[in-house]
């Protein structure tokens, strides 16, 4: 699907721009990845004994796949609220630079901060990537409406996927329920691997996978935090050593 040209009358109303944003959900391959991910999260939440309303509320109000998986799997494996909150909080720090880098793309001199609250909430990795792809084709004064439409469309898609995944996990044979649960680690592994732009990110991913089984041997209840901080810090050290070697 092609967006109308920048000077088209289609862009005269914010409402239309919102609608074009919603329609653009259909032209992004990442929507498919998102669908698979949220299908998996729905199944995961079902098998970890959360209610469907809880699952949908987490999608609408958290709106960050990794944070939701961390929340479901830590709470489901008996972590305390504080331990889960810390793990979610660390995973969510990456949203900070994303919001910081996305907002200038749609700000105009007349934009008030409150106009950007919904966009900030909708910002997550999928929207962040798509902003860079779509926004050059959208007139600046309509970008907020367009992104609100795109973001709301993606949330809606995810809520549908969540519900399907949840109900499938409840009613399918064990084989297919297992297949849906497997979507989550696969989709996250490959989308994270694709987003690794720097050496530190790649090392962190590989070491994080390798160190988690070792961290479980400590049986501290904080396994994911321990392996994450250790692996991430080693990866950062590798990045520093290499930066020095180049300089």
């Amino acid at each position: 699907m092609a967006l109308p040209p920048l000077d088209s009358p289609q862009w005269h109303s914010s409402f239309r721009a919102f609608f074009w944003g919603v329609r653009s959900v259909g032209s992004t391959i990442l929507a498919l990845v998102l669908f698979a991910t949220y299908l998996g999260i729905g199944a995961l939440a079902h098998d970890t004994h959360f209610s469907l309303a809880w699952t949908l509320a987490s999608t609408v109000f958290v709106w960050a796949g990794p944070a939701q998986i961390i929340l479901v799997s830590t709470l489901g494996s008996g972590a305390t609220i504080l331990q889960s909150a810390i793990a979610v909080s660390v995973s969510a720090i990456r949203l900070f630079p994303m919001v910081v880098s996305v907002l200038p793309m749609m700000r105009t001199p007349k934009t008030k901060r409150r106009h950007l609250i919904l966009v900030a909430h909708l910002t997550a990795v999928t929207l962040w990537v798509e902003c860079h792809r779509f926004l050059p084709q959208v007139p600046r004064e309509r970008r907020i409406a367009f992104i609100q439409g795109l973001g709301c469309g993606l949330v809606f898609l995810s809520v549908v996927a969540n519900t399907i995944g949840y109900l499938l996990a409840a009613n399918l044979s064990q084989l297919f329920a297992a297949a849906i649960l497997m979507l989550t680690p696969l989709a996250f592994l490959f989308s994270t691997a694709r987003n690794c732009r720097e050496l530190a990110d790649g090392v962190a991913l590989a070491l994080g996978l390798a160190l988690y089984p070792l961290a479980t041997l400590l049986d501290s209840g904080l396994d994911i935090l321990v392996s994450g901080v250790v692996a991430g810090t080693i990866a950062y050290g590798v990045h520093r050593v290499r930066a020095k070697a180049i300089a």
Partner: protein, 114 residues
């Protein structure tokens, strides 16, 4: 309806442990953003730790699987991830190829084992 909502305590936990720790960073980005360099050293470390935490969660689901996934033998789960990763690399980093091959190996292997 009550099975749809579940217990209210869980919804409170969702907000305290999930929504607030997550939204804080977006709202900080909204209020204090602009002055921060995306390539700063602190952010490189933060991103590395966040990536490693996510990797830990991926490993947890595969190593200590929830629910129905536990019915699949461990070696088959690891094999499915490895095959998916090989497909991902061979297809010039196609997420779809990686997920599809991983799933085919998982389902096919489980079916073949009976």
């Amino acid at each position: 309806m009550s099975t749809f909502i579940g217990d209210w305590h869980a919804l409170v936990v969702l907000f305290v442990a999930g929504v607030i720790p997550n939204q804080i960073w977006r709202m900080l980005g909204l209020w204090f953003g602009g002055g921060l360099d995306e390539g700063s050293e602190l952010l490189v470390w933060v991103r590395a730790v966040a990536t490693a935490i996510l990797a830990g969660v991926i490993a947890q689901i595969v190593v200590q699987p929830p629910g129905a996934l536990a019915s699949v033998p461990a070696l088959l789960r690891y094999g499915a991830v490895a095959a998916g990763f090989a497909a991902f690399m061979l297809s010039r980093k196609s997420i779809f190829a990686g997920v599809a091959i991983g799933e085919v190996i998982l389902v096919g292997g489980r079916w073949w084992l009976g």
